[in-house]
Amino acid sequence: MSKNDDIALSVRNLKTFFYTNNRCNKAVNGVSFDVKKGKTLCIVGESGCGKSVTASTIMQLLPTLSRIEEGEIIFNKDNKKINIEKLEKNGKEMRAIRGSDIAMIFQDPMTALNPVYTVGFQISENLKYHTNLNKKQIREKCISLLSDMGIPLPEKRVDEYPHSYSGGMRQRAMIAMAMACNPKILIADEPTTALDVTIQAQIFELMDKLKKENETAIILITHDMGVVAELADNVAVMYMGNIVEAGTADDVLRRPTHPYTKALLESVPVLGRGKDQEINPIKGSTPDPYNRPIGCQFAPRCNWQTESCDVIPEIQQINETHQIRCHKHEQFFEKYHEKRNT
Protein backbone atom coordinates (compact mmCIF):
# COMPACT_ATOMS: atom_id res chain seq x y z
CA MET A 1 0.00 0.00 0.00
CA SER A 2 2.55 2.51 1.10
CA LYS A 3 4.75 1.53 -1.77
CA ASN A 4 2.14 2.55 -4.31
CA ASP A 5 1.52 5.84 -2.56
CA ASP A 6 5.15 6.66 -2.99
CA ILE A 7 5.08 6.41 -6.74
CA ALA A 8 4.49 9.65 -8.59
CA LEU A 9 4.93 8.34 -12.12
CA SER A 10 5.00 4.89 -13.54
CA VAL A 11 6.29 4.03 -17.03
CA ARG A 12 5.52 0.61 -18.44
CA ASN A 13 7.04 -0.82 -21.59
CA LEU A 14 7.22 2.53 -23.33
CA LYS A 15 8.06 2.57 -27.02
CA THR A 16 8.59 5.79 -28.95
CA PHE A 17 9.43 5.64 -32.63
CA PHE A 18 10.71 8.41 -34.88
CA TYR A 19 9.68 8.66 -38.51
CA THR A 20 12.01 11.17 -40.12
CA ASN A 21 13.49 10.83 -43.59
CA ASN A 22 10.93 8.11 -44.25
CA ARG A 23 12.78 5.75 -41.93
CA CYS A 24 11.64 4.26 -38.67
CA ASN A 25 13.95 4.84 -35.72
CA LYS A 26 13.06 2.90 -32.59
CA ALA A 27 14.46 5.50 -30.24
CA VAL A 28 12.83 4.09 -27.12
CA ASN A 29 12.15 0.40 -27.34
CA GLY A 30 10.51 -0.91 -24.22
CA VAL A 31 11.38 1.14 -21.16
CA SER A 32 9.88 0.72 -17.69
CA PHE A 33 10.60 2.52 -14.46
CA ASP A 34 8.96 4.13 -11.46
CA VAL A 35 9.51 7.60 -10.13
CA LYS A 36 9.05 7.94 -6.37
CA LYS A 37 7.86 11.06 -4.62
CA GLY A 38 10.58 13.16 -3.12
CA LYS A 39 13.31 11.04 -4.72
CA THR A 40 15.68 11.65 -7.58
CA LEU A 41 15.81 9.17 -10.43
CA CYS A 42 18.85 9.58 -12.63
CA ILE A 43 18.65 8.29 -16.18
CA VAL A 44 22.18 7.83 -17.47
CA GLY A 45 23.54 6.94 -20.84
CA GLU A 46 25.56 8.07 -23.83
CA SER A 47 24.27 10.57 -26.36
CA GLY A 48 21.62 9.10 -28.56
CA CYS A 49 20.56 6.35 -26.18
CA GLY A 50 17.05 7.71 -25.91
CA LYS A 51 17.04 9.35 -22.49
CA SER A 52 15.95 12.79 -23.71
CA VAL A 53 13.31 11.16 -25.86
CA THR A 54 11.93 9.41 -22.80
CA ALA A 55 11.63 12.75 -21.04
CA SER A 56 9.92 14.37 -24.02
CA THR A 57 7.55 11.45 -24.24
CA ILE A 58 6.43 11.83 -20.66
CA MET A 59 5.64 15.47 -21.29
CA GLN A 60 4.13 14.67 -24.69
CA LEU A 61 6.52 17.13 -26.27
CA LEU A 62 7.50 14.90 -29.13
CA PRO A 63 8.04 16.42 -32.59
CA THR A 64 5.47 15.91 -35.31
CA LEU A 65 7.25 13.05 -37.02
CA SER A 66 7.15 10.67 -34.10
CA ARG A 67 4.67 8.88 -31.87
CA ILE A 68 4.20 6.70 -28.85
CA GLU A 69 3.91 3.22 -30.28
CA GLU A 70 3.13 1.21 -27.20
CA GLY A 71 3.26 1.32 -23.47
CA GLU A 72 1.81 3.26 -20.61
CA ILE A 73 2.72 6.35 -18.72
CA ILE A 74 0.70 6.42 -15.52
CA PHE A 75 0.70 9.64 -13.59
CA ASN A 76 -0.46 9.49 -10.01
CA LYS A 77 -2.36 12.68 -9.42
CA ASP A 78 -3.97 13.01 -6.00
CA ASN A 79 -4.62 9.29 -5.84
CA LYS A 80 -6.14 9.34 -9.31
CA LYS A 81 -4.33 7.57 -12.09
CA ILE A 82 -4.05 9.35 -15.40
CA ASN A 83 -2.75 7.58 -18.50
CA ILE A 84 -0.72 10.24 -20.19
CA GLU A 85 -0.23 8.34 -23.40
CA LYS A 86 -3.96 8.34 -23.93
CA LEU A 87 -4.32 12.09 -23.69
CA GLU A 88 -4.40 14.21 -26.80
CA LYS A 89 -0.99 15.72 -27.35
CA ASN A 90 -1.94 19.38 -27.04
CA GLY A 91 -5.36 18.92 -25.58
CA LYS A 92 -6.74 20.66 -22.54
CA GLU A 93 -6.03 17.84 -20.10
CA MET A 94 -2.44 17.38 -21.14
CA ARG A 95 -1.82 21.11 -21.07
CA ALA A 96 -3.24 21.30 -17.58
CA ILE A 97 -0.73 18.70 -16.48
CA ARG A 98 2.19 20.30 -18.27
CA GLY A 99 3.68 23.09 -16.31
CA SER A 100 1.64 22.65 -13.18
CA ASP A 101 1.93 18.95 -12.36
CA ILE A 102 4.93 17.93 -14.39
CA ALA A 103 7.53 20.53 -15.38
CA MET A 104 10.72 20.35 -17.37
CA ILE A 105 13.97 22.27 -17.55
CA PHE A 106 16.27 22.10 -20.51
CA GLN A 107 19.93 21.84 -21.25
CA ASP A 108 20.84 25.26 -22.57
CA PRO A 109 19.04 28.07 -20.76
CA MET A 110 20.16 30.63 -23.31
CA THR A 111 18.26 29.01 -26.14
CA ALA A 112 15.48 27.68 -23.96
CA LEU A 113 14.35 31.15 -22.89
CA ASN A 114 12.62 33.49 -25.28
CA PRO A 115 14.97 36.41 -25.89
CA VAL A 116 12.34 39.05 -26.53
CA TYR A 117 10.35 38.70 -23.33
CA THR A 118 11.46 39.53 -19.81
CA VAL A 119 12.18 36.72 -17.40
CA GLY A 120 9.33 37.85 -15.22
CA PHE A 121 6.93 37.66 -18.13
CA GLN A 122 7.98 34.14 -18.97
CA ILE A 123 7.57 32.93 -15.42
CA SER A 124 4.24 34.67 -15.11
CA GLU A 125 2.94 32.86 -18.18
CA ASN A 126 3.11 29.63 -16.27
CA LEU A 127 1.18 31.14 -13.39
CA LYS A 128 -1.36 32.78 -15.64
CA TYR A 129 -2.37 29.55 -17.24
CA HIS A 130 -2.49 27.33 -14.23
CA THR A 131 -3.56 29.51 -11.33
CA ASN A 132 -6.16 32.15 -10.60
CA LEU A 133 -3.86 34.75 -9.18
CA ASN A 134 -4.28 38.35 -10.25
CA LYS A 135 -1.57 40.43 -11.85
CA LYS A 136 -0.17 41.82 -8.66
CA GLN A 137 -0.07 38.44 -6.96
CA ILE A 138 1.60 36.90 -9.96
CA ARG A 139 4.30 39.51 -9.95
CA GLU A 140 4.93 39.03 -6.25
CA LYS A 141 5.13 35.31 -6.72
CA CYS A 142 7.64 35.74 -9.53
CA ILE A 143 9.84 37.85 -7.34
CA SER A 144 9.64 35.41 -4.46
CA LEU A 145 10.41 32.50 -6.78
CA LEU A 146 13.50 34.24 -8.09
CA SER A 147 14.71 34.96 -4.59
CA ASP A 148 14.02 31.35 -3.53
CA MET A 149 16.25 30.22 -6.33
CA GLY A 150 19.03 32.40 -5.02
CA ILE A 151 18.94 35.22 -7.54
CA PRO A 152 20.02 38.50 -5.95
CA LEU A 153 17.91 41.66 -6.36
CA PRO A 154 14.89 39.79 -7.68
CA GLU A 155 12.68 42.90 -7.84
CA LYS A 156 15.02 44.34 -10.41
CA ARG A 157 15.87 41.12 -12.20
CA VAL A 158 12.30 40.19 -12.83
CA ASP A 159 12.02 42.90 -15.47
CA GLU A 160 15.22 42.09 -17.27
CA TYR A 161 15.82 40.04 -20.36
CA PRO A 162 17.50 36.65 -20.47
CA HIS A 163 20.61 37.96 -22.15
CA SER A 164 21.46 40.17 -19.22
CA TYR A 165 21.60 37.14 -16.90
CA SER A 166 24.68 35.01 -16.41
CA GLY A 167 24.61 31.32 -17.36
CA GLY A 168 24.02 30.02 -13.87
CA MET A 169 21.38 32.63 -13.17
CA ARG A 170 19.54 31.73 -16.32
CA GLN A 171 19.31 28.14 -15.29
CA ARG A 172 18.03 29.22 -11.88
CA ALA A 173 15.44 31.37 -13.62
CA MET A 174 14.40 28.35 -15.65
CA ILE A 175 14.07 26.30 -12.51
CA ALA A 176 12.05 29.11 -10.97
CA MET A 177 9.79 29.01 -14.00
CA ALA A 178 9.39 25.27 -13.77
CA MET A 179 8.72 25.28 -10.06
CA ALA A 180 6.25 28.17 -10.21
CA CYS A 181 3.19 25.97 -9.86
CA ASN A 182 4.83 23.54 -7.48
CA PRO A 183 4.89 20.53 -9.78
CA LYS A 184 4.88 17.02 -8.44
CA ILE A 185 7.53 15.93 -10.91
CA LEU A 186 10.45 17.94 -12.23
CA ILE A 187 12.24 16.61 -15.28
CA ALA A 188 15.73 18.01 -15.75
CA ASP A 189 17.31 17.25 -19.11
CA GLU A 190 21.06 17.63 -18.68
CA PRO A 191 20.59 20.91 -16.82
CA THR A 192 24.23 21.62 -16.20
CA THR A 193 25.97 20.42 -19.32
CA ALA A 194 26.18 23.98 -20.61
CA LEU A 195 27.47 25.39 -17.33
CA ASP A 196 30.76 25.59 -15.46
CA VAL A 197 31.52 22.91 -12.94
CA THR A 198 31.30 25.32 -10.02
CA ILE A 199 27.89 26.53 -11.11
CA GLN A 200 26.93 22.92 -11.59
CA ALA A 201 27.40 22.27 -7.90
CA GLN A 202 25.21 25.22 -6.98
CA ILE A 203 22.42 24.13 -9.26
CA PHE A 204 22.42 20.65 -7.83
CA GLU A 205 22.35 22.00 -4.33
CA LEU A 206 19.32 23.98 -5.35
CA MET A 207 17.59 20.97 -6.82
CA ASP A 208 18.30 18.92 -3.74
CA LYS A 209 16.80 21.63 -1.60
CA LEU A 210 13.64 21.71 -3.72
CA LYS A 211 13.33 17.99 -3.52
CA LYS A 212 13.46 18.02 0.25
CA GLU A 213 11.26 21.04 0.82
CA ASN A 214 8.53 20.33 -1.71
CA GLU A 215 8.65 16.55 -1.96
CA THR A 216 9.15 16.97 -5.69
CA ALA A 217 10.09 13.86 -7.58
CA ILE A 218 13.01 14.61 -9.85
CA ILE A 219 13.95 12.82 -13.04
CA LEU A 220 17.49 13.87 -13.83
CA ILE A 221 18.85 13.01 -17.24
CA THR A 222 22.60 13.06 -17.59
CA HIS A 223 25.59 11.40 -19.18
CA ASP A 224 27.86 12.27 -16.30
CA MET A 225 28.40 9.48 -13.77
CA GLY A 226 29.80 11.96 -11.28
CA VAL A 227 26.46 13.76 -11.16
CA VAL A 228 24.74 10.43 -10.60
CA ALA A 229 26.96 9.67 -7.67
CA GLU A 230 26.13 13.02 -6.13
CA LEU A 231 22.43 13.24 -6.49
CA ALA A 232 20.74 10.00 -7.34
CA ASP A 233 18.46 8.03 -5.10
CA ASN A 234 17.64 5.67 -7.93
CA VAL A 235 19.46 5.05 -11.17
CA ALA A 236 18.45 3.72 -14.57
CA VAL A 237 21.14 3.05 -17.14
CA MET A 238 19.99 3.32 -20.74
CA TYR A 239 21.57 2.05 -23.90
CA MET A 240 20.11 2.28 -27.40
CA GLY A 241 16.55 2.60 -26.27
CA ASN A 242 16.51 0.07 -23.45
CA ILE A 243 17.17 0.27 -19.75
CA VAL A 244 19.92 -2.22 -19.22
CA GLU A 245 20.25 -1.85 -15.50
CA ALA A 246 18.18 -0.10 -12.84
CA GLY A 247 18.05 0.09 -9.07
CA THR A 248 18.96 2.24 -6.12
CA ALA A 249 22.08 4.30 -6.37
CA ASP A 250 23.76 1.93 -4.02
CA ASP A 251 22.83 -1.07 -6.17
CA VAL A 252 24.00 0.30 -9.44
CA LEU A 253 27.07 2.19 -8.40
CA ARG A 254 28.50 -0.19 -5.88
CA ARG A 255 27.38 -3.43 -7.45
CA PRO A 256 27.18 -2.71 -11.15
CA THR A 257 26.25 -5.89 -12.91
CA HIS A 258 25.58 -5.11 -16.53
CA PRO A 259 28.73 -5.03 -18.68
CA TYR A 260 27.78 -1.60 -19.98
CA THR A 261 27.36 -0.11 -16.53
CA LYS A 262 30.64 -1.57 -15.46
CA ALA A 263 32.36 -0.25 -18.55
CA LEU A 264 30.88 3.23 -17.98
CA LEU A 265 32.11 3.36 -14.43
CA GLU A 266 35.53 2.12 -15.39
CA SER A 267 35.97 4.59 -18.20
CA VAL A 268 35.62 7.67 -16.01
CA PRO A 269 38.95 9.11 -14.87
CA VAL A 270 38.97 9.70 -11.12
CA LEU A 271 40.35 12.91 -9.70
CA GLY A 272 43.24 12.12 -7.42
CA ARG A 273 44.21 8.75 -8.77
CA GLY A 274 47.02 10.28 -10.74
CA LYS A 275 47.94 10.29 -14.37
CA ASP A 276 48.88 6.68 -14.55
CA GLN A 277 45.46 5.38 -13.66
CA GLU A 278 43.90 2.94 -16.06
CA ILE A 279 41.22 4.38 -18.26
CA ASN A 280 39.33 1.78 -20.16
CA PRO A 281 37.28 3.22 -22.98
CA ILE A 282 34.46 1.06 -24.21
CA LYS A 283 35.48 -0.65 -27.41
CA GLY A 284 33.57 0.02 -30.59
CA SER A 285 31.03 2.80 -30.99
CA THR A 286 27.29 3.24 -30.68
CA PRO A 287 25.57 1.57 -33.62
CA ASP A 288 23.64 3.41 -36.29
CA PRO A 289 20.06 3.63 -35.03
CA TYR A 290 18.83 2.52 -38.41
CA ASN A 291 21.13 -0.43 -38.49
CA ARG A 292 20.76 -1.95 -35.08
CA PRO A 293 22.24 -5.23 -33.95
CA ILE A 294 19.75 -8.04 -33.51
CA GLY A 295 19.10 -9.02 -29.94
CA CYS A 296 21.02 -7.36 -27.14
CA GLN A 297 22.07 -3.93 -28.37
CA PHE A 298 25.31 -3.92 -26.45
CA ALA A 299 26.45 -7.34 -27.63
CA PRO A 300 28.91 -6.16 -30.35
CA ARG A 301 30.81 -4.12 -27.79
CA CYS A 302 30.55 -6.53 -24.91
CA ASN A 303 33.56 -8.46 -23.70
CA TRP A 304 31.45 -11.40 -22.63
CA GLN A 305 29.26 -11.77 -25.65
CA THR A 306 28.07 -15.23 -26.61
CA GLU A 307 25.55 -16.68 -29.01
CA SER A 308 22.68 -16.37 -26.60
CA CYS A 309 23.01 -12.61 -26.93
CA ASP A 310 21.21 -12.74 -30.26
CA VAL A 311 17.97 -12.49 -28.37
CA ILE A 312 17.02 -9.39 -26.41
CA PRO A 313 17.29 -10.34 -22.77
CA GLU A 314 14.23 -9.94 -20.56
CA ILE A 315 14.21 -7.87 -17.41
CA GLN A 316 15.42 -9.90 -14.48
CA GLN A 317 15.50 -9.02 -10.83
CA ILE A 318 18.71 -9.37 -8.94
CA ASN A 319 17.09 -8.33 -5.74
CA GLU A 320 14.05 -6.34 -4.69
CA THR A 321 15.24 -3.04 -6.11
CA HIS A 322 17.87 -4.08 -8.63
CA GLN A 323 16.93 -5.02 -12.21
CA ILE A 324 18.99 -5.97 -15.21
CA ARG A 325 18.74 -6.97 -18.83
CA CYS A 326 21.48 -9.44 -19.45
CA HIS A 327 21.67 -13.14 -20.07
CA LYS A 328 24.81 -13.65 -18.12
CA HIS A 329 24.23 -11.50 -15.11
CA GLU A 330 24.32 -14.25 -12.54
CA GLN A 331 27.75 -15.35 -13.57
CA PHE A 332 28.99 -11.82 -13.62
CA PHE A 333 27.52 -10.95 -10.34
CA GLU A 334 29.45 -13.60 -8.53
CA LYS A 335 32.60 -13.46 -10.58
CA TYR A 336 32.83 -9.73 -10.52
CA HIS A 337 32.24 -9.35 -6.86
CA GLU A 338 34.61 -12.15 -6.08
CA LYS A 339 37.26 -10.27 -7.96
CA ARG A 340 36.56 -7.07 -6.16
CA ASN A 341 36.51 -8.61 -2.79
CA THR A 342 39.85 -10.31 -3.12
Binding site: R98, A103, S164
Partner: protein, 307 residues
Protein backbone atom coordinates in the same frame (compact mmCIF):
# COMPACT_ATOMS: atom_id res chain seq x y z
CA UNK B 1 26.79 58.70 -47.35
CA UNK B 2 24.27 61.21 -48.55
CA UNK B 3 27.04 63.73 -48.89
CA UNK B 4 29.11 61.46 -51.06
CA UNK B 5 26.19 60.73 -53.32
CA UNK B 6 25.20 64.35 -53.59
CA UNK B 7 28.76 65.04 -54.61
CA UNK B 8 28.59 62.41 -57.30
CA UNK B 9 25.26 63.70 -58.46
CA UNK B 10 26.63 67.19 -58.70
CA UNK B 11 29.54 65.80 -60.66
CA UNK B 12 27.07 64.29 -63.04
CA UNK B 13 25.32 67.60 -63.35
CA UNK B 14 28.56 69.28 -64.18
CA UNK B 15 29.45 66.76 -66.81
CA UNK B 16 26.09 66.97 -68.44
CA UNK B 17 25.64 69.40 -71.29
CA UNK B 18 24.37 72.77 -70.34
CA UNK B 19 25.59 75.16 -67.80
CA UNK B 20 24.50 75.79 -64.24
CA UNK B 21 23.32 79.20 -65.14
CA UNK B 22 21.23 78.01 -68.02
CA UNK B 23 19.57 75.68 -65.54
CA UNK B 24 18.98 78.36 -63.05
CA UNK B 25 17.15 80.80 -65.20
CA UNK B 26 13.73 80.07 -66.46
CA UNK B 27 13.48 79.71 -70.25
CA UNK B 28 11.39 82.85 -70.57
CA UNK B 29 14.32 84.89 -69.45
CA UNK B 30 16.76 82.84 -71.50
CA UNK B 31 15.34 83.92 -74.81
CA UNK B 32 15.82 87.58 -74.06
CA UNK B 33 19.03 87.54 -72.17
CA UNK B 34 22.31 88.65 -73.76
CA UNK B 35 25.73 87.13 -73.55
CA UNK B 36 27.04 89.88 -71.27
CA UNK B 37 24.14 89.46 -68.97
CA UNK B 38 24.79 85.73 -68.85
CA UNK B 39 28.38 86.34 -67.99
CA UNK B 40 27.43 88.83 -65.37
CA UNK B 41 25.12 86.26 -63.91
CA UNK B 42 27.87 83.76 -63.93
CA UNK B 43 30.04 86.15 -62.01
CA UNK B 44 27.28 86.92 -59.60
CA UNK B 45 26.51 83.30 -59.02
CA UNK B 46 30.13 82.59 -58.57
CA UNK B 47 30.28 80.20 -61.47
CA UNK B 48 33.79 81.25 -62.13
CA UNK B 49 34.76 80.10 -58.75
CA UNK B 50 36.20 76.72 -57.99
CA UNK B 51 34.28 73.55 -58.33
CA UNK B 52 34.06 73.03 -54.60
CA UNK B 53 32.58 76.43 -53.91
CA UNK B 54 29.94 75.94 -56.53
CA UNK B 55 29.15 72.54 -55.17
CA UNK B 56 28.72 74.03 -51.72
CA UNK B 57 26.39 76.70 -53.04
CA UNK B 58 24.30 74.15 -54.86
CA UNK B 59 24.09 71.98 -51.83
CA UNK B 60 23.03 74.73 -49.49
CA UNK B 61 20.40 76.05 -51.83
CA UNK B 62 19.14 72.52 -52.34
CA UNK B 63 18.68 72.07 -48.62
CA UNK B 64 16.82 75.31 -48.42
CA UNK B 65 14.40 74.06 -50.99
CA UNK B 66 15.59 75.79 -54.07
CA UNK B 67 16.32 73.00 -56.44
CA UNK B 68 16.81 74.83 -59.63
CA UNK B 69 14.71 74.54 -62.71
CA UNK B 70 13.77 71.76 -65.01
CA UNK B 71 15.15 72.15 -68.47
CA UNK B 72 12.10 70.88 -70.19
CA UNK B 73 9.26 73.03 -68.95
CA UNK B 74 11.16 75.65 -67.05
CA UNK B 75 9.12 74.83 -64.02
CA UNK B 76 10.85 75.01 -60.67
CA UNK B 77 11.82 71.54 -59.67
CA UNK B 78 10.59 72.03 -56.14
CA UNK B 79 7.16 72.75 -57.51
CA UNK B 80 7.25 69.55 -59.48
CA UNK B 81 8.23 67.63 -56.39
CA UNK B 82 5.43 69.05 -54.31
CA UNK B 83 2.91 68.17 -56.95
CA UNK B 84 4.00 64.63 -57.62
CA UNK B 85 5.42 63.23 -54.42
CA UNK B 86 2.11 62.91 -52.57
CA UNK B 87 0.74 60.77 -55.35
CA UNK B 88 3.65 58.39 -55.20
CA UNK B 89 3.52 58.28 -51.42
CA UNK B 90 -0.14 57.34 -51.54
CA UNK B 91 0.56 54.48 -53.84
CA UNK B 92 3.65 53.22 -52.08
CA UNK B 93 2.25 53.36 -48.59
CA UNK B 94 -0.96 51.60 -49.50
CA UNK B 95 1.00 48.92 -51.31
CA UNK B 96 3.42 48.55 -48.40
CA UNK B 97 0.73 48.16 -45.77
CA UNK B 98 -1.29 45.78 -47.85
CA UNK B 99 1.65 43.61 -48.84
CA UNK B 100 3.13 43.44 -45.34
CA UNK B 101 -0.09 42.43 -43.65
CA UNK B 102 -1.25 39.95 -46.26
CA UNK B 103 2.23 38.64 -46.94
CA UNK B 104 3.03 37.98 -43.29
CA UNK B 105 -0.31 36.36 -42.62
CA UNK B 106 0.01 34.04 -45.58
CA UNK B 107 3.58 33.31 -44.66
CA UNK B 108 2.62 32.31 -41.13
CA UNK B 109 -0.18 30.09 -42.37
CA UNK B 110 2.21 28.52 -44.82
CA UNK B 111 4.76 27.83 -42.10
CA UNK B 112 2.23 26.35 -39.71
CA UNK B 113 0.91 24.02 -42.36
CA UNK B 114 4.29 23.09 -43.67
CA UNK B 115 4.28 20.47 -46.38
CA UNK B 116 0.54 20.56 -46.88
CA UNK B 117 -1.29 21.42 -50.06
CA UNK B 118 -1.94 24.94 -48.77
CA UNK B 119 1.73 25.49 -48.12
CA UNK B 120 2.81 24.18 -51.49
CA UNK B 121 0.29 26.15 -53.49
CA UNK B 122 1.09 29.33 -51.58
CA UNK B 123 4.78 28.84 -52.18
CA UNK B 124 4.27 28.36 -55.90
CA UNK B 125 1.92 31.33 -56.03
CA UNK B 126 4.59 33.36 -54.28
CA UNK B 127 7.19 32.36 -56.82
CA UNK B 128 4.83 33.23 -59.63
CA UNK B 129 4.37 36.61 -57.98
CA UNK B 130 8.05 37.41 -58.23
CA UNK B 131 8.44 35.98 -61.70
CA UNK B 132 5.70 37.80 -63.57
CA UNK B 133 6.91 41.22 -64.70
CA UNK B 134 4.87 43.72 -62.72
CA UNK B 135 4.02 45.83 -65.71
CA UNK B 136 2.71 42.79 -67.54
CA UNK B 137 0.56 42.00 -64.57
CA UNK B 138 -0.56 45.60 -64.59
CA UNK B 139 -1.47 45.44 -68.25
CA UNK B 140 -3.44 42.25 -67.84
CA UNK B 141 -5.21 43.76 -64.85
CA UNK B 142 -6.14 46.82 -66.86
CA UNK B 143 -7.45 44.66 -69.65
CA UNK B 144 -9.45 42.48 -67.38
CA UNK B 145 -10.82 44.80 -64.77
CA UNK B 146 -10.94 48.11 -66.50
CA UNK B 147 -11.68 47.35 -70.08
CA UNK B 148 -13.51 44.07 -70.15
CA UNK B 149 -15.29 44.11 -66.84
CA UNK B 150 -15.39 47.86 -66.46
CA UNK B 151 -15.21 47.60 -62.70
CA UNK B 152 -12.37 50.01 -62.22
CA UNK B 153 -10.98 53.01 -64.04
CA UNK B 154 -8.19 52.57 -66.52
CA UNK B 155 -5.76 54.91 -64.90
CA UNK B 156 -5.05 58.33 -63.66
CA UNK B 157 -5.53 59.54 -60.17
CA UNK B 158 -7.93 62.41 -60.02
CA UNK B 159 -10.75 63.48 -62.19
CA UNK B 160 -12.29 66.91 -61.98
CA UNK B 161 -15.49 65.68 -60.45
CA UNK B 162 -13.82 63.88 -57.55
CA UNK B 163 -14.72 65.44 -54.26
CA UNK B 164 -14.11 63.14 -51.37
CA UNK B 165 -11.44 60.62 -50.57
CA UNK B 166 -13.86 57.81 -51.32
CA UNK B 167 -14.16 58.92 -54.91
CA UNK B 168 -10.50 58.35 -55.38
CA UNK B 169 -10.41 54.81 -54.10
CA UNK B 170 -11.33 52.99 -57.30
CA UNK B 171 -8.39 54.64 -58.99
CA UNK B 172 -5.89 53.51 -56.43
CA UNK B 173 -7.05 49.91 -56.28
CA UNK B 174 -5.42 48.50 -59.37
CA UNK B 175 -2.03 50.19 -59.28
CA UNK B 176 -1.46 49.60 -55.59
CA UNK B 177 -2.61 46.00 -55.84
CA UNK B 178 -0.30 45.27 -58.72
CA UNK B 179 2.56 46.99 -56.97
CA UNK B 180 1.81 45.01 -53.85
CA UNK B 181 1.91 41.64 -55.60
CA UNK B 182 5.66 41.57 -55.83
CA UNK B 183 6.16 42.77 -52.29
CA UNK B 184 3.56 40.34 -50.93
CA UNK B 185 5.34 37.41 -52.49
CA UNK B 186 8.58 38.52 -50.90
CA UNK B 187 7.01 39.14 -47.49
CA UNK B 188 5.31 35.77 -47.61
CA UNK B 189 8.50 33.92 -48.32
CA UNK B 190 10.43 35.71 -45.57
CA UNK B 191 7.66 35.28 -43.04
CA UNK B 192 7.45 31.59 -43.84
CA UNK B 193 11.14 30.86 -43.57
CA UNK B 194 11.56 33.02 -40.50
CA UNK B 195 8.65 31.29 -38.78
CA UNK B 196 10.02 27.88 -39.64
CA UNK B 197 13.38 28.88 -38.21
CA UNK B 198 11.85 30.15 -35.00
CA UNK B 199 9.46 27.24 -34.53
CA UNK B 200 12.42 24.90 -34.44
CA UNK B 201 14.02 26.75 -31.57
CA UNK B 202 14.18 25.48 -28.00
CA UNK B 203 12.16 28.19 -26.35
CA UNK B 204 9.13 27.07 -28.31
CA UNK B 205 9.42 23.69 -26.63
CA UNK B 206 9.82 25.45 -23.29
CA UNK B 207 6.66 27.42 -23.92
CA UNK B 208 4.85 24.24 -24.80
CA UNK B 209 6.13 22.58 -21.64
CA UNK B 210 4.37 25.26 -19.65
CA UNK B 211 1.08 24.05 -20.97
CA UNK B 212 0.11 26.99 -23.16
CA UNK B 213 -2.30 26.56 -26.04
CA UNK B 214 -0.77 26.18 -29.49
CA UNK B 215 -2.20 29.34 -30.96
CA UNK B 216 -0.67 31.43 -28.25
CA UNK B 217 2.70 29.77 -28.69
CA UNK B 218 2.64 30.34 -32.42
CA UNK B 219 1.78 34.00 -32.24
CA UNK B 220 3.33 35.28 -29.04
CA UNK B 221 6.44 33.19 -29.00
CA UNK B 222 6.74 32.23 -32.61
CA UNK B 223 5.80 35.19 -34.72
CA UNK B 224 6.97 37.77 -32.23
CA UNK B 225 10.52 36.51 -32.52
CA UNK B 226 10.23 35.85 -36.24
CA UNK B 227 9.17 39.44 -36.75
CA UNK B 228 12.63 40.93 -36.44
CA UNK B 229 14.29 39.30 -39.44
CA UNK B 230 11.10 39.81 -41.45
CA UNK B 231 11.15 43.53 -40.75
CA UNK B 232 14.80 43.75 -41.73
CA UNK B 233 14.26 41.80 -44.92
CA UNK B 234 11.24 43.82 -45.92
CA UNK B 235 13.38 46.89 -45.29
CA UNK B 236 15.92 45.58 -47.77
CA UNK B 237 13.19 45.24 -50.36
CA UNK B 238 11.93 48.78 -49.93
CA UNK B 239 14.13 50.11 -52.74
CA UNK B 240 12.37 47.62 -54.98
CA UNK B 241 9.04 49.02 -53.95
CA UNK B 242 10.19 52.50 -54.78
CA UNK B 243 11.62 51.38 -58.08
CA UNK B 244 8.61 49.29 -58.94
CA UNK B 245 6.30 52.18 -58.40
CA UNK B 246 8.08 53.94 -61.23
CA UNK B 247 6.97 51.45 -63.84
CA UNK B 248 3.50 50.98 -62.41
CA UNK B 249 2.95 54.71 -62.41
CA UNK B 250 3.76 54.74 -66.08
CA UNK B 251 1.40 51.90 -66.88
CA UNK B 252 -1.47 53.43 -64.98
CA UNK B 253 -0.73 57.03 -65.87
CA UNK B 254 -0.42 57.73 -62.19
CA UNK B 255 0.96 61.28 -61.82
CA UNK B 256 3.62 60.47 -59.32
CA UNK B 257 7.29 61.20 -59.20
CA UNK B 258 8.05 57.89 -60.89
CA UNK B 259 6.37 58.71 -64.14
CA UNK B 260 7.89 62.18 -63.88
CA UNK B 261 11.29 60.58 -63.59
CA UNK B 262 10.72 58.50 -66.68
CA UNK B 263 9.57 61.52 -68.58
CA UNK B 264 12.66 63.42 -67.57
CA UNK B 265 14.92 60.55 -68.63
CA UNK B 266 13.24 60.40 -72.01
CA UNK B 267 13.69 64.12 -72.43
CA UNK B 268 17.26 64.07 -71.19
CA UNK B 269 16.25 66.67 -68.67
CA UNK B 270 19.37 66.31 -66.59
CA UNK B 271 18.67 68.64 -63.70
CA UNK B 272 15.41 66.93 -63.07
CA UNK B 273 16.87 63.48 -63.48
CA UNK B 274 19.67 64.19 -61.06
CA UNK B 275 17.56 65.88 -58.48
CA UNK B 276 14.94 63.18 -58.45
CA UNK B 277 17.64 60.52 -58.18
CA UNK B 278 19.09 62.31 -55.22
CA UNK B 279 15.69 62.39 -53.64
CA UNK B 280 15.25 58.67 -54.17
CA UNK B 281 18.53 58.02 -52.45
CA UNK B 282 17.42 60.20 -49.59
CA UNK B 283 14.24 58.18 -49.27
CA UNK B 284 16.09 54.87 -49.32
CA UNK B 285 18.54 55.99 -46.66
CA UNK B 286 15.79 57.39 -44.48
CA UNK B 287 13.83 54.18 -44.86
CA UNK B 288 16.75 52.07 -43.70
CA UNK B 289 17.17 54.37 -40.73
CA UNK B 290 13.53 53.88 -39.83
CA UNK B 291 13.94 50.13 -40.17
CA UNK B 292 16.89 50.21 -37.79
CA UNK B 293 14.88 52.10 -35.22
CA UNK B 294 11.96 49.74 -35.66
CA UNK B 295 14.17 46.71 -35.15
CA UNK B 296 15.54 48.14 -31.93
CA UNK B 297 12.02 48.69 -30.71
CA UNK B 298 10.92 45.16 -31.42
CA UNK B 299 13.95 43.22 -30.35
CA UNK B 300 15.50 43.90 -26.97
CA UNK B 301 18.66 42.13 -28.00
CA UNK B 302 19.38 44.86 -30.48
CA UNK B 303 18.86 47.58 -27.91
CA UNK B 304 21.76 46.63 -25.74
CA UNK B 305 24.10 46.41 -28.63
CA UNK B 306 26.12 43.32 -29.40
CA UNK B 307 25.94 40.60 -26.79
Amino acid sequence: MLLIISFLVYLGLELAPGDAVSHMISPELASTITAEQLNAMREAYGLNQSFITRYWLWLTSMIQGDMGYSMAGGVAISEIMVKTIPATLELSIVALIFSTIIGCTLGIISALKRGSGTDNSLTVAGMAGVSIPEFFFGLVAILLFAIELKWLPVGGRLLPHYETVWDRIPNIVLPSLVLAIMMTAGAMRYARSSMLDVLAKEFITTARSKGMPEWRINIFHGFRVALTPVVVLIGFRLPLLIGGSTIIEQVYQWPGIGSMFIRSVRASDYPLVMTISLMYVFVVLTASLIIDVLTALIDPRVRLGKE
